[in-house]
Each structure stands twice: as C-alpha cells, then as structure tokens.
C-alpha cells in the first residue's frame, strides 16, 4: 500500500515540474500535434503563436499556468514572413480553440465589470449539458 501511495505521489508531483505544453495536464495540448507540415520557421511560428494564443485572456488561469507569450524576436527583426504570419494565424486559431473548449463546458469568460474571478479549475468543466454540447439541437 505504501508503495502505491509513493508511486502515485511521484506520478502527481513529477508533471508539475514541467509547466509547458509537454506536460500531460496541459489543456488542449493536442493542438501541438496538429502542427501542419512545413519548414522549421513555419513550425516554430505555429508553436510560438499557439502557445501565446492559449495564454491570452480568452482562456482561464489554468491555461495560463502552462502557456505564456512566446515570440522569437530575432525572427521578427529579420522580418521572416513565414514565421510572423504563421505566428499570427496560430495565435488567433489557438485562442479561439481555447475559448470554444471553455464555452462548450459552459465556462464562458466574463465581461469586464461582471465581477467575480475566473472560473475555477473544477468549476463546471465536465458539464457538457450547457450550450455547445454535442447534439442536433446545438448545431
């Protein structure tokens, strides 16, 4: 029994050391597996843009734990169009993806002035009966 507890503790603590999209608890990390094929600067633009998109105000605090604003300043200075354009496209794509995921779970972000903090991690994330649920009536 003790071994199981120790093993479980290790399994829970270890992922906390790597707060990036590689972490198994990182939300929507499947997005990084949807990386379209292309040259390195294109792929780097997608990774950086997507991370940034997932860290914007469209997502909640849980997302912001794993993702942060990322942009390669050298690419911007050198005006690598392939990087900057992919960054922009990935940023809007991923931020809307995060918003769509949260909204499907009934976690619509609050507007300024509506009071209260953001939805908690375990708020109603598992409740799919709200708007956006899978079903003909929700198309």
């Amino acid at each position: 029994m003790r071994k199981i507890i120790i093993l479980l503790s290790i399994l829970i603590i270890l992922p906390a050391c790597d707060l990036t999209h590689n972490n198994i608890f990182a939300p929507n990390r499947k997005l990084f597996k949807m990386l379209p094929p292309g040259p390195p600067e294109f792929q780097q633009g997608f990774l950086d843009g997507c991370q940034t998109g997932l860290s914007t105000g469209f997502a909640n605090d849980y997302y912001k734990t794993f993702y942060k604003f990322t942009k390669d300043i050298d690419m911007v200075k050198n005006k690598v169009t392939k990087y900057t354009r992919t960054w922009s496209a990935a940023m809007i794509y991923c931020r809307h993806y995060a918003l769509g995921t949260l909204k499907e779970a009934g976690m619509t972000p609050k507007l300024p002035g509506q009071g209260g903090g953001e939805h908690s991690l375990f708020g109603n994330v598992f409740d799919l009966r709200r708007q956006g649920a899978v079903g003909l009536s929700k198309w």
Binding site: F42, F46, A89, A90, G100, K138
Partner: protein, 191 residues
C-alpha cells in the same frame, strides 16, 4: 436489439424454427446498422454541420486561402461536432503570398462569425425572445438597442450624441450590458 442475439434457452425450446428466422433477421438488421455507421463516417462532406458558399471564381491563392481559413475557423471556434469535421489548414508554401494570407484571414473571420452564431445556440434560439433585440433592431419602440450593427456609428456632432472614443473622458463608462440602458454601442454608455 443486438444484445438479444445471445441464445435464450427458453425461447429456443418454445420457438424452434421461428426463432432461427428471427435471429437471421436480427443479424441482418445489425449488419445494416453497422453499414450505415460506416457510410456516415465516410460521408463527412454530406453531413458536415456547415456548408458555406465560398467564391467560385478567383485565383488559386484566393480560393485556397478562403476555404482553408474558413475550415480553420470552424475547427477553432466550433464545438466538438465541428471539430470532428474540420481542422486547422494552413499552407506553408503559400503563406508568404499576400493574396493567400489575406484570403485565409478573411475566410477565417467570415466563418468565425458564422460558427459563433451556429455552434453555441440552438436553431430555435434565433426566434426566441432573447434574440428579439436583433430582429427588432431599427424598429421604433425597441429600447434595447441604440444603433444597429450594420448602421454604422454616428460621430459626435452628427446627431444623437454619437459614440465617444476611449480617452475622451466626458462621463462615459465601460458598457457592461450590451445594448442596454443608454448605450450607444458595445463599447461605452452614457452615465
């Protein structure tokens, strides 16, 4: 139905031959259902939740960009149903072409607004009272809306007080109730 294929001793004793024919019918029925499921999975373009009429004529870059941007928006802003049918589409070979990238972005924005309206509200909700402000916009006696979304913004001095831009500091505050109260738009309202 399919679960009932498990042999039932009592029924076998009573029904005999009849039972066998019934079993065959049920097997055929199950096979039919499985076939239909396979057909459904193959027919993504037939039962996809959205079909948008995109431009038929134009350069290759423009047409590809618009279609790919549209599909990407369905994937990102849609619900799980949309994400089953659409995914991110971005062509690394064409992204440096301004015509492609501009079309991608325009297609994305167009379909973003379409899916935003469709995916997160039922079809019936479009005629429910909560959407009355939209259908009654521009009609007299509708107090909920100051100006229609497609009407444009009246600038100060052009009648109605106009909308003030942030920073003008003339007693305006952040609008927390869209189209409610004394609002002139989605940004700010008069106190």
């Amino acid at each position: 139905m399919c679960l009932s294929l498990v042999p039932d001793k009592d029924i076998l004793v009573v029904a005999g031959f009849l039972k066998k024919s019934m079993k065959l019918r049920r097997i055929a029925f199950c096979i039919l259902i499985i076939h239909l499921l396979f057909l459904e999975s193959c027919s993504r373009y037939i039962i996809a939740p959205a079909h948008v009429k995109l431009p038929k004529y134009g350069s290759f870059a423009m047409l590809t960009g618009t279609r790919q941007g549209c599909n990407s928006a369905f994937s990102s802003r849609g619900n799980s149903m949309y994400r089953t049918f659409f995914k991110l589409e971005l062509d690394s070979n064409q992204i440096e072409d301004p015509e492609y990238f501009d079309s991608w972005y325009r297609g994305y924005i167009l379909c973003f607004h379409l899916v935003n309206r469709r995916a997160f509200s039922s079809i019936d909700s479009n005629i429910e009272p909560e959407h009355a402000w939209f259908w009654n916009k521009g009609k007299s006696g509708n107090p909920k809306i100051g100006w229609a979304l497609d009407q444009g913004i009246k600038l100060p001095g052009q009648g109605g007080g106009g909308i003030k831009l942030p920073g003008q500091k003339e007693g305006w505050h952040w609008n927390t109730h869209l189209f409610g109260g004394n609002c002139q738009g989605i940004w700010q309202c008069a106190k």
